[in-house]
C-alpha cells in the first residue's frame, strides 16, 4: 500500500468542517475518505524510453515514426500541430488553470521492454502485467474480472481489455475471440497500419482536427489509444475496456479512441484510468470519437479516477478531454455514463450529435470533487434529425474547497421536429468553502420539440414524496427512498463490471441534498 497520510486529513477535516443539518454523516465521511486515500498512487519502476522534452514538428514526426505510421498520417498530425500553434487555451470554463508549460514535458514515453512490440500477451514484460494486476485488471485471457459474480453475471463473463501504459498500448486481450465475431479491437497505432481505410474514413470525422485547443494538440501528438470496429449486425460478444495508466513523470498522456458501430451492431465500452501520486501536475488530453450508424447502439462508460492531487491541492492530473459521438444514421443510440472522482481539474463534455432520425443520446454523470479539485463537466445534445431524443441526468457533489460546474448545451435545430429533451441537474454542497454551479444553454428552434430543464440543490419531486407519504412512510424514509432510487438510476446505467467499482467509489447517499 502507498505511504499515504490520508488519516491526518480526515481528522483535520472532521474538526474544521461545518456540516449543515440534514447532510448525512456517512456521506461526508465517504467523500473525505476518498480524498485521503487514493489507492492507485503508487508507481511502477520500469525503464522507460523518452522522446526529447518539449514539442515541435520534429517531435510530432518522431511520434509518427515510432508508431510506424504512413505518410498521410504524419501529414495529418503536422497539419494539426501547425494549427495548434495559432490557438489559445479555452478560458470560458469556471476553472482556474495555472499556466501549462507545454515545452517542459515529454510527449512520448514507452517502456524499454516494449521496444519490440510483443507478439502475444505471454511476451509482455511481467512488470507491466503486474502493474495491471495490482490495479485489478488482469491481462490474462483465461481470467475474468474479479468480483463479478452473482445471478446477473453469467459464469465466465469476459471483458476484453486494451491496456495503455503512458504512451503505448501494452496489450489487448481476447483479440482472437473478438476477431471470430468480426469485431476489430486493437490499439489505434495498430489500426492505422492494419485498417487504414477505416481510420482514414472516420478519424477526425466526429472531432475535427481544429475542434478545440486540446483536441488539436491531441491530433498532433496522440501516441496510442483504442480502436473498435463492430461490423453490421454484430452484437459484440463481450464488454470492451481500455485501461489507461500514467506512470512516468512529467509526461502527458494523449490517447485517441475511435469506436465505429456499423449498422445494427451493439457494443459496450468501458474506460478506466489511474495515475501515481506526484507533486507536479500532469496533462491528460484525450479525444474519443464514436460513430454509430443505422440502428447501432454504443454504451460508453467511464470511471475516471486519475490522481486528484493532495489535500493542499498539490499535484494531480489535468483531465482535458474531448468526447463526442455522432449518431450518424437513423435510430442510432449512444449512451455516455461517467463517474468522475479523480483529476485536479476536469474539463470534459461528452456529447452527442443526433443526426439520424429517431436517434437518441443519453448522458448520466456523477461528478465528485473534494479538497481543491475543480470540475467543469457536462454534455452537448445537438438535435439535427427528426424525432430525436435525449436525456441528461447529472449529479454534482462538491466538498472541501472544490468547485463543481455542470455545463451543457441542448440544441434543437429547425429541422429536428418532434424531438425531446429532458435534463436534470442536481448539486450537493458539503461544507461552506466549496461551490456548485450550473450553466446550461438551451436553444430551441422549432415548436414541436419539447425541452425541459430542471436543476435544484434541494428538493426531490413532491409528487413522488406525496406518493410515498400516502403509503405510510415518514418524510425521512420517503426522501431516502426517492433520492436513493434516483442515484441508483445513474449507477445502474453502468455495466456490471463498472458498477462494482463505481459503487465502491461513490458509496454516497444523496440524502443530504434534501432539506
Amino acid at each position: 500500500m502507498p505511504n499515504n497520510d490520508g488519516k491526518m486529513t480526515m481528522a483535520a477535516l472532521d474538526n474544521t468542517l461545518e456540516v449543515r443539518e440534514g447532510v448525512d454523516r456517512e456521506t461526508v465521511e465517504t467523500v473525505q475518505s476518498m480524498a485521503g486515500k487514493y489507492k492507485h498512487g503508487w508507481e511502477t519502476e520500469i525503464e522507460m524510453e523518452f522522446a526529447p522534452k518539449g514539442l515541435n514538428e520534429d517531435i510530432v514526426r518522431l511520434i509518427s515514426e515510432k508508431n510506424g505510421e504512413p505518410e498521410w498520417m504524419t501529414e495529418w498530425r503536422l497539419g494539426a500541430f501547425r494549427r495548434w500553434q495559432s490557438m489559445e487555451e479555452p478560458d470560458w470554463a469556471m476553472l482556474s488553470i495555472p499556466p501549462i508549460a507545454y515545452q517542459e514535458q515529454y510527449y512520448y514515453a514507452k517502456p524499454k521492454s516494449m521496444a519490440e512490440k510483443p507478439k502475444s500477451l505471454d511476451e509482455v514484460d511481467p512488470k507491466l502485467l503486474e502493474t495491471y494486476a495490482k490495479l485489478g485488471i488482469p491481462l490474462k485471457e483465461q481470467m475474468v474480472l474479479a468480483g463479478v459474480e452473482g445471478a446477473d453475471a453469467p459464469a465466465g463473463r469476459k471483458v476484453a481489455v486494451d491496456a495503455v501504459f503512458d504512451s503505448v498500448s501494452v496489450g489487448t486481450t481476447f483479440k482472437d475471440e473478438l476477431a471470430k465475431a468480426g469485431v476489430i479491437f486493437c490499439s489505434i497505432s495498430e489500426a492505422i497500419k492494419e485498417h487504414p481505410e477505416l481510420v482514414k474514413k472516420y478519424l477526425g470525422s466526429v472531432v475535427p482536427v481544429s475542434d478545440n485547443f486540446f483536441a488539436t494538440l491531441n491530433s498532433a501528438v496522440f501516441t496510442d489509444g483504442s480502436f473498435v470496429y463492430v461490423p453490421p449486425g454484430v452484437r459484440c460478444p463481450m464488454e470492451l475496456s481500455t485501461y489507461f495508466r500514467i506512470n512516468a513523470e512529467n509526461t502527458g498522456q494523449f490517447e485517441r479512441t475511435l469506436i465505429i458501430a456499423d449498422k445494427g451492431s451493439y457494443v459496450s465500452y468501458l474506460e478506466g484510468c489511474t495515475a501515481p501520486k506526484r507533486d507536479t501536475h500532469q496533462l491528460h488530453a484525450a479525444v474519443v470519437e464514436i460513430v454509430a450508424l443505422e440502428d447501432a447502439e454504443v454504451k460508453y462508460s467511464t470511471v475516471q479516477n486519475w490522481y486528484p492531487g493532495d489535500e493542499e491541492g498539490r499535484g494531480g492530473i489535468y483531465n482535458f478531454v474531448t468526447k463526442r459521438a455522432d449518431c450518424r444514421e437513423a435510430r442510432a443510440k449512444v449512451m455516455w455514463t461517467q463517474v468522475e472522482t479523480g483529476s485536479a481539474i476536469t474539463w470534459k463534455y461528452p456529447s452527442c450529435i443526433l443526426r439520424g432520425e429517431e436517434s437518441s443520446g443519453e448522458f448520466y454523470s456523477i461528478a465528485i470533487t473534494n479538497n481543491w479539485q475543480q470540475a467543469d463537466t457536462g454534455t452537448k445534445m445537438i438535435h439535427l434529425g427528426k424525432n430525436t431524443r435525449s436525456r441528461i441526468v447529472s449529479k454534482g457533489i462538491s466538498a472541501g474547497h472544490a468547485q463543481n460546474t455542470y455545463r451543457g448545451l441542448v440544441s434543437m435545430h429547425p429541422k429536428a421536429l418532434n424531438s425531446r429533451n429532458y435534463t436534470q441537474c442536481d448539486s450537493l454542497l458539503i461544507g461552506d468553502q466549496c461551490g456548485a454551479h450550473t450553466v446550461p444553454y438551451i436553444e430551441v428552434k422549432n415548436a414541436s420539440s419539447r425541452v425541459e430543464h430542471e436543476a435544484t440543490t434541494s428538493k426531490v419531486d413532491d409528487d413522488q414524496l406525496f406518493y410515498c407519504r400516502q403509503r405510510g412512510m415518514d418524510e425521512e424514509e420517503a426522501v431516502a427512498l426517492v433520492v436513493n432510487g434516483f442515484c441508483r438510476e445513474v449507477l445502474q446505467a453502468l455495466p456490471m463490471e463498472f458498477a462494482m467499482e463505481a459503487q465502491a467509489l461513490v458509496a454516497i447517499s444523496l440524502e443530504g441534498s434534501v432539506g
Binding site: S427, G435, T438, Y441, I442, V444, K445, E454, T456
Partner: protein, 438 residues
C-alpha cells in the same frame, strides 16, 4: 521563429474591440451638465473605453446581436399609431412625468410634487447639491459592470439627456408614472433615472409608451431597510423600435423589489436587470411576459446576487412566440458564501406557436453557500394538445381555446404584480394582443 511577440487571438480581438469603441466614441459630445453630473459622465465614458462596446462574439451577447444598439445612428422606425385601445395605466390615478422623443414635457406632465416624494429632473440636477442622487448616479451602474460588463449602461450614464431623480420618504400610494411619447420617426431616447426609497418608505413606479426609434434607459434603484419598490413597465407595441434597458437595484434589510415588464412586439428589446440583495431578509422578484409576432427579438437578461443571508429571489419569465419571433432568457442566481438560507427560484418558459419561432435560454446558478434552496426550470414547447382538446370538447372554437391557453400560460408572470389594479391593466393588454394576433 521571430522574437517579436505576436498578439494571441484573444488579445487581438480585445485590441480590435477597444479600437472600434474608440472610433465609435470619437465624435461623441457629452451633454452640458453641472459639476457632479459632468464628473459622473466622464468617469462612465472612461469606464466604457476600458471595457469596450459589445459585439456578437461576446458570450453575454451570444443570443442577441447588439449591432443596431451600438451603431452611431439609430435605424429609423416607423411611428405606430394605436387607435384600437386605451393606453395602459390610463385608468390609474398617478403622477405623470411625460417625455416626448426623450425630452421632458412640463405641459403634459403633472406638477412634480407630492407628499413624501422628491422629484427632480436630471437635466436640472447637475448644478444642485442633491446628495442622495449624487451618491447613486452612475455608481450602481459602475458596480454592475462586474462580473459581467454592461457597456451600453455605461454609455447611457455618459450621454443620457434627461431622466428623473425620485426619492420616497414615506409610503406613497399614488404611483409615479413615466410616459415616453414619440413624434419623430428617427428620434433617439437616452434617459437615466435614479430612484431612492428611504428606509420604511414605499413607492410604485410605472413606465410605458413607445419611447423612440431607439431607446436606452438606465434606472438605478436603491431600496433602504424595510423599503418597498413596485415597478411595472409596459413596453409599447411599435414593431420597429429597438430598446436596451438596464435596472440596477440594491436592496437593504427586509426590503422588497417587485419588477414586472410586459413587452409586446418591437424589433429588438433587451432588458437587463441587475439586483443585489445586500441586507438580511430581502426579497426581489423580477418577472416578465413577452409576446412576439414576426420580426421580434426579445431578450431578458437577469443577474441576481445574494450577498446576505435569508433572502428570497424569484425570476419568472414567459414568452409567447410566433411567425419567426425569437425569445431569449439569460438568468443567473449568484449566491455568496455568506448568503445562507437563500431561497432562489427561476423559471423561464416559452410557448412556440409555430415551427419558425425560437427560444434560446441560459439559466445559470452559481452557488457558494451550502444551506440554500435554489432551483431553476426552463421549458419550451407548443400548446399542449390535451389541454386544447379539453377546451374544444367543451365547445370552445379552436382560436378561443388557444387564446385562453396563451393567457393561462402567461398568468404566472402576472402573479408577480402585487397591486391588482395594475395587474388588471396588464391583463387587459394581453387580452388585446391575443385577440389581435390570432
Amino acid at each position: 521563429m521571430t522574437a517579436v511577440a505576436k498578439l494571441g487571438p484573444r488579445a487581438a480581438r480585445r485590441a480590435a474591440k477597444l479600437e472600434a469603441t474608440a472610433s465609435r466614441l470619437e465624435a461623441l459630445t457629452l451633454p452640458e451638465s453641472g459639476e457632479w453630473l459632468r464628473r459622473a459622465r466622464e468617469t462612465a465614458l472612461a469606464r466604457l473605453r476600458e471595457i469596450g462596446l459589445p459585439d456578437r462574439r461576446d458570450e453575454y451577447w451570444k443570443f442577441t446581436d447588439p449591432a443596431t444598439l451600438v451603431r452611431t445612428d439609430a435605424p429609423a422606425a416607423a411611428l405606430f399609431e394605436i387607435t384600437d385601445e386605451a393606453m395602459v395605466f390610463d385608468a390609474i390615478d398617478r403622477l405623470r412625468v411625460v417625455f416626448v422623443d426623450g425630452v421632458f414635457d412640463p405641459d403634459a406632465s403633472d406638477e412634480l410634487e407630492a407628499e413624501g416624494l422628491e422629484i427632480v429632473r436630471l437635466a436640472d440636477a447637475g448644478g444642485r447639491d442633491i446628495h442622495w442622487a449624487q451618491e447613486l448616479f452612475g455608481a450602481l451602474e459602475a458596480e454592475g459592470q462586474d462580473p459581467v460588463t454592461r457597456p451600453l449602461a455605461a454609455l447611457n450614464t455618459a450621454v443620457a439627456t434627461d431622466g428623473v431623480l425620485i426619492r420616497a420618504t414615506a409610503r406613497v400610494a399614488r404611483p409615479v408614472s413615466l410616459i415616453y411619447r414619440r413624434r419623430d420617426p428617427s428620434a433617439e431616447l437616452a434617459l437615466h433615472h435614479v430612484v431612492k426609497v428611504e428606509p420604511g418608505a414605499e413607492l410604485t413606479l410605472l413606465e410605458n409608451g413607445p419611447g423612440a426609434a431607439r431607446v436606452s434607459t438606465v434606472t438605478e434603484m436603491c431600496i433602504g431597510d424595510g423599503g418597498v419598490l413596485h415597478h411595472v413597465r409596459a413596453q409599447g407595441r411599435d414593431h420597429e423600435r429597438r430598446a436596451i434597458t438596464h435596472l440596477f437595484a440594491r436592496l437593504g434589510e427586509q426590503s422588497v423589489l417587485k419588477s414586472f415588464t410586459l413587452s409586446a412586439n418591437g424589433a429588438l428589446t433587451r432588458n437587463e436587470s441587475v439586483v443585489w440583495l445586500n441586507g438580511k431578509g430581502g426579497s426581489a422578484h423580477v418577472a416578465g411576459a413577452a409576446m412576439g409576432d414576426g420580426a421580434f427579438h426579445h431578450d431578458d437578461t437577469v443577474f441576481i446576487t445574494h450577498a446576505a443571508p435569508d433572502c428570497e429571489s424569484r425570476q419568472v419569465f414567459k414568452k409567447v412566440l410566433r411567425h419567426g419571433a425569437v425569445g431569449v432568457f439569460q438568468g443567473k442566481i449568484l449566491v455568496h458564501q455568506a448568503a445562507q438560507l437563500t431561497d432562489g427560484y427561476q423559471i423561464s418558459q416559452a410557448l412556440l406557436l409555430d415551427e419558425t419561432s425560437q427560444f434560446l435560454a441560459k439559466p445559470e446558478l452559481e452557488i457558494y453557500a451550502d444551506d440554500v434552496k435554489c432551483s431553476h426550470g426552463s421549458t419550451s414547447g407548443e400548446i399542449d394538445a390535451d389541454q386544447l382538446f379539453y377546451l374544444r370538447a367543451r365547445g370552445l372554437p379552436e382560436e378561443t381555446a388557444k387564446g385562453l391557453l396563451v393567457l393561462a400560460f402567461l398568468a404566472e408572470a402576472l402573479d408577480e404584480i402585487a397591486r391588482e389594479d395594475l395587474a388588471e391593466e396588464i391583463r387587459e393588454k394581453l387580452r388585446g394582443w391575443v385577440s389581435r394576433h390570432r
